[in-house]
């Protein structure tokens, strides 16, 4: 089957939109149809994203499947899509988690189902678009498109304090992204001023070869950094995350942790570094220090969280610290590790939120102190939860390990002391996750859970369907990380070539 002629990227972006439009015309009371239509759309999108794999050449430089069309020619704004290994990996991650999340929300979402599914599918459009856009303006638009559905998902289907959480999420993200818009436009203008034409002023491939003025680089990097750092989220911009996670419905949490946080890391790699290499070197020490703080701090704070979701949220802060650390040491192993870590964190943390959702569905509670002894009534659940707990703490052989290790390795190359500090999390991570697991799953069945009686059932087949692919992926990426590493080898090399080699400077 020759797929080269088809606009596959446009297809993968806008298939969910078509689904959303279809759902819009489904009568409100036909809930089953809505559900299956949404799932079907997500699966089709997933299938299209898989179609990208056979035609993808991991050895080729530059972008593949590029599609270009003029959009606003007056400013050289284009509709330009393309992907390299990094985008490919993240797009497939997105499409995978999307259908899983949609399936996972079959049960929990009981009101305004139609709106939920529409929001979710539009969210998917935005997320995939971000990973595929090669025009800065287009990228920004997709970036913002992500915002609104997520805002609604948390705000409408969230928990008790959802409004506070969702507004915080949106405002925080907006501050960053709006400044990024200024920076994008400034960069485009600077290009236009130098070349005398708007043609290509927003084209990433043109801009990345363009040496921006150092001051502009420094400021624009700062603006991009803020936007991405908030999204990642990096310490100290992370406080929206626990609130958003706690309030979001399960599917929202899964996507939030699984994909949304990756937008920031992706932004750093795709845009920040190639566009502003000099500034990247100036900013890197600060970012490395913040990453180290995030890694340790997130883990320590996670240790005392009373709420399961908050605990996982803080663990995300810690884990995403690896991503930024790995990126900003400008070292091939570190960056590959960072990308691997993004993928694996997406899968594992997504799965952990699904697991928390499973408990929540039965107990309507997430307080760790009320849990206990789940291993006896729900052994399969306990095993799966334990599996992802272990994956999250970076057990070798499972997904989390290789990424973490590569980041450590890269960091060690740059500064053994930084690596030593970062790797303390190996202990802390084990401590908070195992402590949580022990309190929730081990011990005698708590009185609270006893009170639920026969409602405390083991995982349902539907939940199993959502979790099993993630188990498989976690295992696969632990045993054969080459599946991803082979894809990202070339683009990482390209990015690093543009940044100009490993971070130099004083570091023991």
């Amino acid at each position: 089957m020759d797929l080269t002629g088809l606009p596959l990227l446009t297809g993968v972006i806008f298939t969910p939109l078509i689904g959303a439009l279809l759902i819009a015309f489904v009568p409100r009371e036909r809930e089953a149809l809505t559900r299956w239509l949404a799932l079907g759309t997500a699966l089709v999108t997933f299938a299209i994203s898989l179609l990208l794999l056979p035609g993808f050449d991991p050895a080729a430089t530059g972008f593949q499947y590029v599609e270009t069309a003029d959009w606003i020619p007056a400013f050289g704004i284009q509709y330009k899509l393309g992907l390299d290994g990094i985008s490919l990996v993240l797009v497939v991650l997105t499409t995978t988690l999307s259908w899983i999340s949609i399936l996972a929300s079959f049960g929990p979402i009981k009101s305004r189902l139609k709106e939920f599914m529409i929001s979710f599918l539009i969210l998917e459009v935005g997320m995939i678009g971000v990973f595929l856009a090669l025009d800065l303006f287009l990228f920004y638009i997709f970036w913002e498109v992500v915002l609104v559905p997520m805002y609604l998902i948390i705000g409408i289907w969230g928990g008790a304090n959802r409004i506070y959480a969702t507004l915080k999420f949106v405002l925080y993200t907006l501050i960053g992204s709006l400044l990024m818009l200024v920076a994008i436009l400034a960069a485009a203008f600077s290009f236009q001023a130098a070349t005398g034409s708007w043609a290509g002023a927003f084209d990433f491939e043109q801009l990345r070869g363009f040496g921006f003025d150092p001051t502009l680089q420094f400021l624009a990097f700062g603006a991009f950094f803020l936007a991405f750092a908030i999204k990642v989220p990096m310490f100290p911009f992370h406080t929206w995350l626990p609130d958003a996670h706690v309030e979001a419905p399960t599917a929202g949490s899964v996507i939030l942790a699984g994909v949304l946080l990756k937008l920031g890391g992706y932004g750093f790699i795709r845009f920040c570094l190639p566009l502003f290499p000099q500034a990247a070197h100036e900013w890197a020490p600060l970012i490395i220090v913040l990453s180290l703080i995030a890694i340790i701090y997130g883990a320590i704070v996670a240790m005392v969280q009373p709420d399961l979701k908050k605990l996982v949220a803080y663990s995300s802060v810690s884990h995403m610290g690896f991503v930024t650390l790995g990126i900003f040491i400008f070292q091939p192993q570190g960056m590959q590790g960072a990308i691997l870590q993004m993928v694996n964190h997406g899968i594992i943390t997504g799965a952990l939120f699904l697991c928390v959702g499973v408990i929540y569905e039965r107990t309507h509670d997430r307080t760790i102190a009320k849990m206990g002894g789940l291993a006896a009534p729900t052994p399969v659940y306990a095993a799966i939860f334990g599996f992802f707990m272990l994956a999250s703490l970076g057990l070798p052989g499972l997904g989390g390990f290789v990424g973490e290790f590569l980041v450590f390795l890269g960091t060690f190359d740059y500064s053994p002391i930084a690596a030593a500090i970062a790797s303390i999390v190996v202990i802390l991570g084990a401590a908070y996750l195992m402590w949580m697991y022990q309190r929730v799953v081990f011990g005698e069945l708590s009185d609270f859970l006893k009170g639920l009686g026969h409602h405390l059932t083991d995982v349902t087949p539907q939940e199993l369907v959502t979790l099993t692919p993630l188990i498989a992926l976690t295992l696969a990426f632990g045993v054969a990380p080459g599946l991803i590493l082979d894809l990202i080898q070339m683009p990482v090399g390209e990015v690093l070539a543009r940044v100009g080699g490993p971070l130099t400077g004083a570091a023991p």
Partner: protein
């Protein structure tokens, strides 16, 4: 009887005398308008002030403006204002406080404005020459009016029409509104204590 070229003692021309007298009447009248306690008298002083202004227009060689001043301002606007005053005199009569509490601040602002304007006028080199004779006669004005200014003329007529339509509509008496139909959003007057607000971003989330 021929008058002397200049006024004895002062050495002013007669025009100057007229100028000074008119200025005194105009400014004095205007002052009385703004500081007078009785609003009806204020209206009358305004007529006086406008009349003096008409004199200036004559001095400036624009008799047609002077005529218009008398007809429009004294004849129409002032009378309209006097009617309105009478329509709005409540039984309580004019309140004790003619001025607002901020009268002193108003004074400062007005004096400041005056000083600024005076400085500006004195230190500006206007592209002016001494006018000789009547600069613009009625005929010239009429020619201008129906050439360059014909569009302005039409616009003013539309403006007046609009004003009449609106004025009539607003001033027309109609039975009072059913209280239920008023806009009901007056919590601004009775300022309640702010309700318990959660801290932070969402703090202004009301009820």
């Amino acid at each position: 009887m021929a008058l002397p070229q200049t006024i004895p003692l002062l050495g002013w021309s007669w025009d100057d005398l007229i100028f000074v007298v008119l200025a005194g009447v105009m400014l004095g009248g205007a002052l009385m308008v703004v500081i007078g306690r009785n609003i009806i008298r204020s209206g009358l002083y305004m007529i006086l002030s406008f009349a003096a202004l008409a004199g200036f227009y004559v001095l400036l060689g624009a008799p047609i403006v002077a005529a218009a001043q008398v007809l429009i301002y004294i004849g129409a606007i002032s009378v309209l204002i006097l009617f309105a005053i009478m329509l709005t005199q409540s039984k309580a009569g004019p309140s004790n406080l003619v001025f607002h509490h901020q009268a002193w601040a108003a004074g400062v602002a007005a004096v400041g404005l005056a000083v600024l304007l005076l400085i500006v006028i004195l230190f500006t080199d206007w592209p002016a020459e001494v006018a000789d004779g009547v600069a613009a006669g009625t005929a010239a004005i009429a020619r201008l009016l129906f050439s360059d200014y014909v569009l302005a003329f039409e616009i003013v007529s539309v403006l007046l029409l609009a004003a009449v339509i609106g004025g009539v509509f607003l001033a027309k008496r109609e039975e009072a509104l059913d209280p239920g139909e008023r806009q009901v959003d007056e919590p601004t007057l009775a300022r309640q204590p702010p309700p318990d607000r959660p801290r932070g971003v969402a703090a202004s989330e009301g009820p």
